[in-house]
């Protein structure tokens, strides 16, 4: 099945939609509660540091761990790949004449497809985590790393249980279902000869593993049977208890919003076991490599091995929320799933699912291990683009058009003429594009304006305004061609405040669209060209952007793509430090605005505003609009635009947009403000299409109508 077909199928799954939507809403609230009063960014930085190891360092932690547990007679084994791990485990089971094997939840065992292998060997593994057990008897795979059966309803679970146990089950009585699982699974702990668990943490200095669960099944699995096999990836090693506690503090908060999981079990070596003929547990540790060790030395993939498997990067992902983990990931799920699939599993499959990332950075912002997942995904896209070649039509756009200002400009000129018969009565929007299917027709698209921003800048004599206080403004493609007014309004406002505004001699795309689609080469050329036209950073107080995605590209990608060009790199670094959005600039310069109207205002935070430029203007807006400012629920959740994403996956894009529109309607605001032309395009288009009477504007457009307060 092609990825687009799978996406469509999931988009039509009403149960999945409501399960994931409800969960995402609740999760955000409980996570925020659990983290209140803590410095999340400091704590996650500590985790990041404590897991920052090279291959050699991990190997020496491994040796230390090994010698610690061998003292009590345990066996520690290295498994190079999935096949050898499976074989080692099956051999141990056979050696101890096991028939039944109880397992507690382990993503690592999913990674190596352990159950399939054991069953082929005639062994009977029984999953004891409730969610995993439901899926095992239903013959399905997890759709989430922490909540494997999140895609199922109680009614579906009741059916699965009825079929398996023969008992009649009330399809609404979840309590009863849990009791059935309790009763049914309890006997297997006592029947099984072997218990298999994973480990969330392996502490080298003491040889102790830590396992986190809520149900208590890992405790039973590691206690009752006489044999305990621990399957653990090398990346779970940490140095000491102090580092381990940091993970214990953040993992449950990020996973489910719990302060701590019900059970954290610490096991060292071989403990007493009444079922063992020696009175002592037979304990085996299988350390899985499966590619991990070499990736520890990889320049941008090594960070993925800091993951503590909390699942947060799925929980906060708007695209995951639309399609679920059976599409958004493979074995591992969510943003980390896209990455680990590339590293540990099928690269072709990975290339496909990587395209599902809209680039909103919610994952990076929330990851408790401090992994910049979105940036890794973007690097992987570039890698895949090089290796498997990107769609030739896109490639043409990025390499021949976007990086070439004069060609781009003429193409836009042509577009502004040929769109004419398609414009609606306002001329601001295109009525309907005949070449696009109905699926794409979920919003009205803006028209290409006859005059570019740069032309209007000259025409209005904006370049004649001189002042000692100078800023540089980078308009970006959206302002240049689609929304020149956003730019002119901002220039007027700043000039009123006494600032001279300069712009690039020639407008070049920021390079982000090419990079995001995997065309790194064109991205780089575009960036180098751009730097030529950017003003000298020493002369300006700030480099202003009205599009935070351009801003983020300038801040992050300009440096990343100029590493081999020393003077361009230096210039990028200096500019990066000065990139500022409008409200941030006004705020820092103590410029306050007066609002006399009584229209209600709300605000959508663009993804790359808060999570890219690191400034959210809500406080500034509260100060400016007072009582008339109404906060928007999930303001910082993506609007579904994502540039070409909305063309590639219109169903996901419009699904995300509809949630945004619902929240906007709930505010009853007259005006929705935002900071990004892309978001304006998406949200305004959607509201207009649904005939909802809320005006959408960029901050610059409304700010320019207000008076500057004299102080």
């Amino acid at each position: 099945m092609s990825i687009k077909t799978k996406v469509k199928e999931k988009l039509n799954d009403k149960i999945l939609y409501s399960n994931l939507k409800t969960f995402a809403e609740n999760y955000k609230v409980s996570r925020a509660n659990a983290l209140s009063g803590l410095d999340f960014f400091k704590l996650r930085h500590d985790i990041y540091k404590s897991k920052d190891f090279t291959k050699d360092e991990i190997l020496s932690l491994f040796e230390e761990f090994k010698s610690n547990v061998e003292k009590s007679g345990c066996t520690v084994l290295h498994a190079e790949d999935a096949a050898s791990a499976n074989k080692l485990i099956a051999d141990i089971c056979k050696k101890h004449s096991a028939e039944y094997i109880v397992k507690s939840k382990s993503m690592t065992s999913e990674e190596i497809k352990l159950n399939d292998y054991l069953e082929k060997q005639g062994l009977k593994p029984v999953e004891t985590d409730l969610g995993e057990w439901i899926l095992q008897i239903a013959g399905e795979h997890p759709s989430h790393m922490v909540m494997p059966a999140i895609h199922k309803t109680r009614q579906q679970v009741a059916k699965v249980f009825e079929k398996h146990t023969g008992e009649k089950i009330d399809p609404d009585d979840i309590n009863k279902m849990v009791k059935i699982a309790r009763k049914y699974l309890r006997e297997f702990y006592f029947k099984a000869k072997v218990g298999i668990t994973g480990a969330n943490i392996a502490i080298s200095s003491s040889g102790t593993i830590g396992i986190v669960t809520n149900e208590g099944n890992a405790r039973l699995s590691s206690t009752v049977p006489p044999v305990h096999i621990v399957l653990v990836g090398y990346e779970k090693l940490v140095k000491n208890f102090s580092d381990a506690m940091k993970i214990i503090r953040l993992l449950p908060k990020s996973a489910t919003g719990q302060n701590i999981s019900t059970y954290v079990t610490w096991i060292k070596g071989s403990n007493p076991s009444f079922k063992s003929e020696t009175g002592k547990k037979h304990t085996y540790y299988i350390f899985l490599d499966n590619g991990r060790l070499s990736f520890l030395d990889h320049p941008f993939l090594k960070d993925a091995l800091k993951c503590i498997r909390c699942g947060s990067c799925a929980n906060v992902c708007p695209a995951y929320e639309m399609v679920g983990g059976h599409v958004f990931g493979d074995i591992y799920i969510g943003a980390i799933g896209l990455i680990l699939t590339s590293m540990l599993h099928d690269e072709k499959k990975a290339k496909e699912i990587l395209s599902l990332c809209i680039g909103c950075k919610a994952c990076s912002y929330n990851c408790p291990a401090g992994i910049d997942l979105q940036s890794i995904i973007s690097d992987l896209n570039v890698y895949m683009g090089q290796k498997y070649s990107i769609n030739p039509a896109k490639k043409f756009v990025y390499s021949a058009v976007l990086k070439n200002p004069s060609v781009f400009k003429s193409a836009m000129k042509v577009a502004s003429i040929i769109q004419k018969p398609l414009l609606d009565e306002t001329k601001e929007n295109i009525g309907k594009l005949p070449i696009l299917s109905d699926e794409h027709n979920f919003r009205k698209l803006p028209s290409v304006k006859e005059k570019t921003f740069s032309q209007m800048f000259k025409q209005n004599n904006f370049d004649k305004f001189n002042s000692s206080k100078k800023v540089f403004f980078y308009p970006g493609c959206a302002v240049e061609y689609f929304f020149p007014e956003m730019g002119t309004k901002m220039v007027q406002l700043l000039q009123k405040a006494g600032f001279q505004v300069d712009i690039p001699d020639t407008q070049v795309c920021c390079g982000l669209p090419a990079i995001h689609s995997g065309d790194g080469k064109s991205g780089k050329k575009t960036i180098l060209k751009n730097l030529k036209y950017m003003g000298n950073p020493e002369e300006y107080e700030a480099f202003l952007v009205l599009c935070p995605s351009c801003g983020m590209a300038i801040k992050e990608d300009f440096k990343k793509y100029t590493l081999e060009y020393i003077s361009e790199f230096k210039k990028s670094e200096k500019i990066a430090n000065k990139v500022t959005s409008l409200a941030d600039f006004l705020n820092k310069n103590n410029i306050r605005l007066k609002y006399d109207d009584n229209k209600k205002i709300t605000y959508h935070t663009p993804c790359h505003q808060g999570r890219g430029l690191g400034f959210v203007p809500e406080d500034f807006l509260k100060e400016t609009f007072g009582e008339n400012f109404i906060p928007l629920k999930d303001s910082n959740v993506c609007c579904g635009f994502g540039g070409s994403f909305s063309v590639e996956y219109p169903g996901i894009s419009s699904g995300i947009l509809n949630k945004k529109i619902e929240n906007i309607k709930d505010t009853k605001a007259d005006i929705l403000l935002t900071d990004c032309p892309g978001c304006v395009m998406q949200i305004d288009g959607g509201l207009k299409k649904q005939n909802i009477n809320v005006k959408v504007a960029h901050l610059s457009e409304i700010f320019n109508e207000l008076d500057i307060e004299k102080n």
Binding site: E215, G216, S242, N259, I260, K268, P272
Partner: protein
């Protein structure tokens, strides 16, 4: 002492948020509970050692057990139980109702305060230490919180104020 009471209150608040039932009492009150409580399994340190009671643990489980916690962590409402003893370990897993006794003086503020205990307990060849925070739970069906999936359905914590 103000600081101990702050920790105590915090511990109780965090414990009750996860359905642990907390009672603060004197050691003599606990002795009465031990006498009348119909426990299947009792494993406690002095001054309650004389009440010890053993039983057999099978898949049918037992109804009531009571054991000591070495420490309690206020930040999370967690009971820290050295469970190397296999009988005790089973008791904390297959009892329908689990009671845990902790001394007020052993309530610490944060996870970090437990590190030296962890280091010491794992300096031997083997160790099994449990952090328990509330009764066993799951939310695997429709994210509905349900208590008592594999472990105890009820968790009671007795905090002895004069120890």
């Amino acid at each position: 002492m103000i600081s101990i009471d702050t920790e105590l209150n915090k511990f109780i608040e965090k414990s009750e948020a996860v359905q642990t039932k907390c009672t603060v009492l004197k050691k003599d009150d606990l002795k009465t509970i031990l006498k009348d409580g119909n426990f299947d399994y009792i494993k406690l340190n002095t001054p309650f050692k004389t009440y010890s009671k053993d039983c057999e643990f099978t898949e049918s489980g037992v109804s009531k057990s009571i054991v000591n916690a070495d420490f309690a962590i206020a930040e999370t409402g967690t009971l820290v139980i050295n469970s190397e003893n296999e009988q005790l370990r089973l008791a904390t897993m297959v009892s329908e109702s689990l009671s845990v006794v902790v001394y007020k003086s052993n309530i610490v503020s944060k996870l970090e305060n437990i590190i030296s205990f962890m280091n010491e307990s794992t300096s031997r060849e083997n160790a099994y230490i449990a952090f328990i925070t509330g009764p066993s739970r799951t939310a695997d069906i429709e994210r509905v919180l349900t208590i008592g999936v594999h472990g105890p359905v009820e968790l009671i914590c007795y905090i002895i104020e004069d120890l």
